[in-house]
Symmetry: D3
Subunit: 64 residues, 6 copies
């Protein structure tokens, strides 16, 4: 059943996403005692221009 | 009032989205006894690389 | 695959939720050409004190 | 602590997003009596094709 | 159009929520050049037991 | 930076939530090469009456 939504800064590789999905699913199933098959992981790639911490856009804090 | 967020795999046509918005709005208004005008439907197109079921990325399960 | 998140004002009955889940699932599966079994519907009951339209809390607009 | 998620129609400028992040963070910190540094603002640019009000896609209501 | 979702720790008063809705709506309308009437603000009161920063539940970091 | 939102069925213990927050934070930091301190985990306890799979409320599928 669990739905895991991960909002991360844009730029992670498919390999990182593959491992993230695998590990978060496995660990959540173990800890919550539910089947891995029932777990959804949805990743949201957020642009630096769309994420602010402490009022500052990350695009300004970490310009390309 | 209701806000309906639909996360679906990327690739649906505008026609499908048009019908989805129309039908989900109509049926929600009917069932929840509220006005259609007050209902927001927001669709999120999710890449196969960003969606995992049972720990496997759909991009791996269903490669292009 | 689709995940349908419905944010509605607190107070709907289980019957309404049952029908909402059934109908939104059936229609989304039909329109998006996917299996009903793969669709999650998650309903979020929102208190009137936690929902504002046009800057006014619904708890103030529609006091109990 | 607060997380502020802002879903807006695609097309706002970086200047608008910069001011939005700054002002929403400042005002939320003031009103909720918490530190600005702990506040995340995440902006989601939504395509007109993915947003419906009253059952009508904004892409149909306001064609380009 | 904008939808502003604010996740905050449980415990804020209705007055704080009233001002938060008012100010976030007013400022978002000003900055994004849209009408206040079209803006939804939805507040989510999150229990300390359901929020972790740096891997630690806030219920453990700040016990009642 | 990452925000991890976990929607799970109501009823998990604080110990499960503690471990979930710890492990998801640690693994996400490792995989995404970011600091644990910057990661938020927000857990949403969903009632069985508010979650449907395949069009059936879990409250109906698994009555108390």
């Amino acid at each position: 059943m669990p739905i895991i939504k991960v909002e991360i800064l844009e730029g992670r590789s498919r390999e990182q996403k593959r491992e993230l999905a695998q590990v978060l699913t496995r660990e959540t199933a173990r800890i919550c005692a539910c089947s891995e098959a029932s777990i959804f992981v949805v990743i949201d790639d957020v642009k630096k221009e769309n994420w602010a911490v402490g009022g500052t856009l990350l695009a300004d804090k970490y310009p390309d």
